[in-house]
Symmetry: C2
Subunit: 290 residues, 2 copies
């Protein structure tokens, strides 16, 4: 493969999931740029580790890239699209974030306004940099088939949905709506049982009738506490998505509240015990946005 | 066992779960009365089938019983306790309903005011009339040990919690809070995926990464549609219970809404398809109380 035949892809930004995307794009033969300006030391280290090319600024990335892939926390997705559009980007813009279909379509309009084409994306699975087959990047919209070949090798597989922009985001909302919504509910139930001093009785009953739940309720707290700050915006997007089709948003408004109350565990080194997290979950103060 | 040594228990009322309780009490050697006045033909048939003794009126039951067991939909629990107290009942009153700990304690005060003693109860498991070991009646409060021997044989086992009144109800709220709350969430997620035309993609993704979910999301709709009307009050009690300890009530406010929107399937002969239920779940009109 010559240098000319390689597609140049701008990856914004190589966070945890972003680096998994970056590793995949490199394995598939793309040249992958990122913009280190204003990024954290952890992000710089990850980008170096994966082998991405530092173009320094967003402007340089937008100028040099044929495809831009947006992989950011959901509350930053629209803002990043506006920033890229403001730089006059006219390539293919892929929003791979956990946003409501309406947010995805709005992002599509933003980037189309300055001449870029849009692909809606949604990533389902863990941020793996190694094993192929556990994480899928769903793509939808008329330009989706152009993006799929970039994921031909490496950890993440692409799945093209024969559906308009918004479908890949809807699928992500549905998947995460159960996955993270049910984990937030399970955390709340343990916190309730602890508050009412019936936690031991609940675990004993579960051991008989629902033997999976003692361990999965522990994981719902241990595995999520340090990442909870990132889920706040995602729960807001899911609530918005359900409202848009006439379904109750309150499951994910509650899940948002649960993750917001755990958001102080960001940057802590160890996960809290179930009992410690339960105390935090019962805080009555106003919840903090990420 | 002579007629004199048998404990006379009033069972209010032999609905689906009530008949399972009645079958257990009879197997344990109690004399079991019920009050047919104002009850449906289905309830009369069940009571006959199980072999309960018809005392006709609530008044006759209250006069003749040493123990009264209340097994009603949660929204009727406090009202029944007031009716029994108004009849001057001075025996042992067991509230076995799916109510918040605060509701259980309020019922305890109501019956204590006219001289009865109180036991808090909560039933976890299906309404089985045959197999022992799948359904447990949790009991709490200082008089709980007196009630347990009534469940010595038959389908339902008693478990005494060494805890004050409210604990058995709290355990029931925690258990049903996950069980029914998560089923309502799963039903909402399927309805969302159908509304957004990504249901086939969601099922395909689940088959790979969460192979239990296609079938359990179908069951969440099929198994609950006809009983949904009964769950509305229970979700309200769970929301109240979570609020009382500073946890978000919104999971179960949403679950309440889901079950309320399915409540028209009461008395239907067949369960709706997932697609039909999904349309019903998206109704935007005001929900109906049971």
């Amino acid at each position: 493969m010559t240098a000319d035949s390689r597609t140049t892809v701008g990856l914004l930004h190589p966070g945890d999931m972003g680096s998994a995307v970056g590793a995949t794009l490199l394995a598939g033969g793309a040249r992958v740029l990122w913009a280190s300006e204003g990024r954290s030391a952890a992000t710089r280290a990850r980008a170096r580790e994966v082998g991405l090319e530092d173009a320094d600024t967003l402007e340089a990335v937008a100028r040099a890239s044929r495809v831009i892939l947006s992989v950011v926390p959901p509350h930053g997705a629209a803002e990043l699209a506006r920033a890229v559009a403001a730089l006059g980007f006219r390539g293919l813009y892929v929003d791979a974030n956990a946003v409501a279909p309406s947010t995805a379509r709005e992002i599509g309009r933003v980037v189309a306004a300055t001449g870029a084409r849009f692909v809606d994306g949604g990533i389902i699975g863990p941020a793996t940099r190694t094993k192929r087959g556990v994480t899928r990047v769903y793509l939808s919209g008329p330009n989706a088939m152009e993006v799929a070949p970039l994921f031909g090798a490496g950890p993440l597989e692409a799945v093209v949905l024969d559906a308009p922009p918004g479908a890949a985001s809807a699928l992500k909302m549905a998947y995460a709506g159960w996955n993270k919504g049910s984990q937030a509910l399970l955390a709340a139930i343990r916190a309730f049982a602890i508050a009412e001093s019936v936690d031991a009785a609940l675990l004993a009953e579960w051991k008989v009738s629902r033997p999976d739940l003692p361990a999965s309720s522990e994981r719902a707290i241990h595995d999520n506490a340090k990442k909870a700050w990132r889920f706040v915006g995602e729960m807001e997007e899911i609530a918005r998505a359900l409202t848009a089709v006439g379904l109750p948003p309150a499951f994910h408004e509650a899940a948002r509240e649960i993750f917001a109350r755990l958001s102080d565990y960001k940057d802590t080194t160890t996960s809290p015990t179930v009992e410690e997290a339960a105390r935090r979950l019962r805080s009555r103060g106003p919840s903090r946005a990420p």
